[in-house]
């Protein structure tokens, strides 16, 4: 079987990319999803706050996904659920397996990677203490509760202040559990301030910044308590600041990792800062005709931006199939002072019609500041910001004319105004 496009992953990124490619003229498109339904992680994100940019409405996760699933249904795009992609080859063969159809190899003219993220687990950050039951990643607890109807416990502490942890603090409280504390090792929260307000403050749940869990205790194999400690600037626990909490549940909300095993195996270049593929302005990876979008490329906070980015990838895949490889010299986009990463990492000015979108994150909270773009020692542009935070992705648009003035590279850096 040969397709013009195969999309791997049927989350919001995969859905938006497939629909966009279809709008741009491709017909033989397959979306491959390992779960029993499309929608990705949005199926378990039952809270509202999705789609404010795109639909000017506050939708819940399933409603947002549902609108895209409906759009997909109105097309001839094939959705293969319960199908897991095992590998992709540099020659764009997609190897997959499903209970219904067994082992299959499909050929594709182009591929869009949209596999999303998985959560960092306890092992990945190494908390000392016992290894009892009752320790979950926040997303796992979310899936148990919202899809399967299982409550993870009655007294919980949340480690990490990522959005999923904050959302789960509210969710558990509404379901009758007591959430004792949210503990964050950094001096600022990794989540959106609106989630601090409506998930913690609304219910009087304390947030301990610059704190961490230093011990985990168990009784009969089940968690029975944790110790929380303040940390110094080097994130070392400070003696004498220990607080004990009696709890049967510890939720970890300590970050997401793009799911890129397939990408690596295919020999596609990975950016160690994003843990996603290095991409060009049109979301194309180092392997021509293979594109990446959504959380598999870099972790997003807002699904609206996932959809936008994925539509760009979809359009580019259609271009590739119809007109062949994009060409022209590429500028390298470099992360300068105060900037952790940029997406894209390369821009081909010859492939930019009006402007190129650049997304990035800053490495600390900044008040009044400027985003400065430089090339070959000269300043190209400057954008003002009132406030920037690592938890909130920044977005700038670089007009085609500006790109023409750049030499070889553009460095994106930040400057904080002196108080």
């Amino acid at each position: 079987m040969r397709y013009e496009l195969i999309v791997i992953g049927g989350g919001p990124a995969g859905l938006a990319a497939a629909i966009s490619t279809h709008k741009n003229g491709l017909k033989r498109i397959a979306v491959i999803e390992r779960d029993r339904e499309a929608g990705g992680i949005l199926n378990q994100c039952i809270h509202n706050g999705f789609g404010l940019h795109r639909f000017k409405e506050e939708l819940s996760g399933p409603e947002y996904a549902g609108r895209f699933i409906d759009m997909l249904r109105d097309t001839e795009i094939e959705l293969l659920t319960d199908t897991m992609v095992l590998s992709i080859t540099p020659g764009k063969k997609v190897v997959c397996v499903s209970p219904a159809k067994g082992y299959n190899v499909y050929e594709a003219d182009s591929i869009i990677l949209a596999m999303g993220c998985r959560e960092r687990t306890r092992g990945a950050i190494g908390i000392p203490g016992d290894r009892p039951s009752g320790v979950f990643t926040a997303g796992t607890a979310q899936r148990y509760l919202n899809l399967e109807g299982y409550m993870c416990g009655q007294r919980a502490v949340i480690l990490g202040s990522g959005d999923i942890g904050l959302i789960m603090a509210r969710r558990l409280t509404l379901e009758g559990a007591k959430v004792l504390a949210c503990v964050e090792v950094m001096p600022y929260s990794g989540g959106l301030s609106r989630n601090i307000a409506q998930c913690l403050n609304d219910f009087g749940i304390p947030l301990y910044l610059s704190h961490t869990v230093t011990d985990v205790r168990a009784q009969n194999g089940r968690l029975c308590g944790v110790t929380v400690c303040a940390v110094d600037e080097k994130r070392h626990p400070i003696k004498g600041t220990e607080m004990d909490f009696e709890c049967d549940t510890l939720l970890l909300s300590v970050g997401l990792i793009p799911e890129n095993e397939l990408t690596r195996e295919a020999g596609i270049e990975i950016d160690p800062r994003t843990n996603g593929a290095r991409v060009y302005e049109n979301m194309e990876t180092s392997l021509p005709g293979v594109f990446a979008c959504g959380n598999v490329c870099h972790v997003h906070d807002l699904v609206d931006y996932v959809s936008d980015e994925s539509e760009r990838a979809g359009k580019a895949a259609a271009e590739y199939v119809k007109h062949g490889e994009a060409s022209g010299a590429a500028l390298e986009i470099k992360a300068g002072s105060g900037v952790t990463y940029t997406v894209p990492q390369h821009i081909r000015p010859g492939n930019v019609e009006k402007s190129a979108d650049v997304f990035f994150r800053v490495n600390r909270i900044m008040q009044k500041s400027a985003i400065v773009l430089c090339s070959g020692g000269a300043e190209l542009a400057r954008f003002r910001r009132e406030h920037m935070a690592p938890g909130e992705m920044e977005h700038i648009m670089l007009p085609a004319a500006l790109l023409k003035n750049a030499q070889g590279e553009i460095t994106v850096s930040t400057e904080e105004a002196q108080a």
Partner: protein, 114 residues
């Protein structure tokens, strides 16, 4: 003067609301923030999102939400109402589960086809 974080959009503006001066709002970047700031002091409301039991579907819980924000103080009472509900598949996004929940004027609606 009360300080709040606007929760209407992810920007999260820091608002100040002056109760003595006709609930004048400052710090907002858009008119929705002004409205939120005033309401939050006079009559705080939230959209409730949760799940109810469902039979005959791929999963055992069906996600629901209130069609509009309800009084913050009513959230836990509304959760009690939800405990008594069991749906049967098929249901469609937007189907009303409980109309005019707790006389709030808002309906409890299904948010996923199941």
């Amino acid at each position: 003067m009360k300080e709040l974080i606007c929760i209407v959009c992810p920007r999260g503006c820091h608002l100040k609301v002056d109760e003595e001066n006709g609930y004048a709002v400052t710090g907002n970047s858009c008119p929705r923030g002004e409205q939120y700031g005033r309401n939050e002091i006079k009559d705080p409301r939230r959209v409730l999102t949760s799940t109810v039991k469902i039979n005959g579907a791929a999963y055992r819980r069906c996600p629901v939400r209130t069609s509009a924000a309800i009084k913050k103080g009513d959230l836990f009472n509304a959760m009690k109402e939800l405990n008594g509900v069991t749906l049967t598949s098929p249901v469609k996004r937007g189907d009303v589960v409980i109309s005019n929940i707790l006389s709030s004027g808002a309906d409890l609606i299904v948010t996923k086809d199941m």
